[in-house]
Symmetry: C2
Subunit: 207 residues, 2 copies
């Protein structure tokens, strides 16, 4: 199928949502943990997470326009702290369920156990294999569609030993991390291939 | 392994680069096609592509600080036009090779064939199954690390019929799209699971 800009604009709303959210590609899938100023834990599934840089270690996280019942960004504004926890193969359904409009904490509602580490003041997901503690650095409002890009700095990182390669590369297939696709798709990876540094003088080889 | 902010800052540069680029998760993997004002085609592999919204259909693309020899952002500034072409299973090595510092066009150097469509004024990758033509809308300089977020609007979209589900969801595993991981990792997916809209009243089910 082919669509022009006008045809995309004319698509039925849910069809367009599914289409555009999926063709934009595989996504980093995370459970975002936060805590309100009065101590209530929040957990929400996020796919709009982007690598911004390694030094300093920065991530970008896109938040949709805030509506009542959405607590993550509100909590982060209050405390400055958040965690990202990779979703494991087999936990896709529970992760997806955090996106329902819960009154209570999603930890209790869905059945993830919060874990507080001395190293960082926001709740992690107990059992998650890749865990990141982050501090909010800057909000960038995207006026073009009312979303907000949060720039956050990595303060704490946990990666299982068995998926860490000697050069620092974390093999997320070995870690059991799932990728996101579209609004409701969860993808298991099967094969990882790494290539040598690209030079014009020779084809890259497998690492 | 566990790292604090101080320990991350103290890591050897390449180790930190591999580590942070991989723990930030699976990435949307694309070949970005552009054309200079004097008609030279450019092709570069990109993983920092983010879904910003479906209506209007917007993507965010992160560009590292421009150094001599990097042409994509320069071309886009000149013409306003770019394409994103999903990388296919089996073409990972060629895609990776576009990141070498070629003097000539990466299309010629690496062996991808450019394709010009009447519908859009920038070169696509011939044979790519998911193709997007985009118009640059806005540049957001991220002063915190010197990168640039380009906001681009979808003007043309092509998705193979056989991977399009009735509700608009594009099954990228069926399309043969590869995901990115870290600076040099390419991942094939094996299994896609979709779940029903999340409600508090019942567990989500498989679609």
């Amino acid at each position: 199928m082919k669509w022009t800009a006008e045809e995309i604009a004319g698509l039925e709303r849910f069809y367009r949502g599914n289409l555009i959210n999926s063709v934009t590609g595989f996504k980093s899938l995370n459970l975002l943990g936060s805590i309100s100023s009065d101590g209530k834990f929040n957990l929400a599934v996020f796919t709009q997470v982007m690598h911004l840089g390694a030094n300093p270690p920065l991530l970008g996280i896109l938040f949709r326009p805030v509506v009542p019942g959405m607590h993550s960004l509100k909590n982060i504004r209050e405390t400055g702290a958040l965690t990202l926890n990779h979703v494991l193969v087999g936990e896709e359904e529970m992760a997806h369920w955090t996106s329902a409009r819960w009154e209570e904490s999603e930890f209790d509602a869905v059945g993830f156990e919060p874990e507080l580490l001395e190293a960082y003041p926001a709740p992690f997901v107990k059992g998650a294999r890749v865990k990141m503690g982050l501090r909010a650095e800057q909000e960038i409002p995207l006026e073009i569609n009312g979303t907000t890009m949060l720039i956050a700095r990595l303060q704490y990182l946990e990666v299982p030993d068995d998926c860490l390669q000697p050069d620092g590369f974390a093999d997320l297939l070995k870690a059991g991390t799932v990728a996101g696709l579209g609004l409701d798709g969860y993808v298991s990876g099967s094969e990882l291939r790494r290539f040598t540094y690209a030079r014009t003088s020779e084809r890259p080889g497998l690492i």
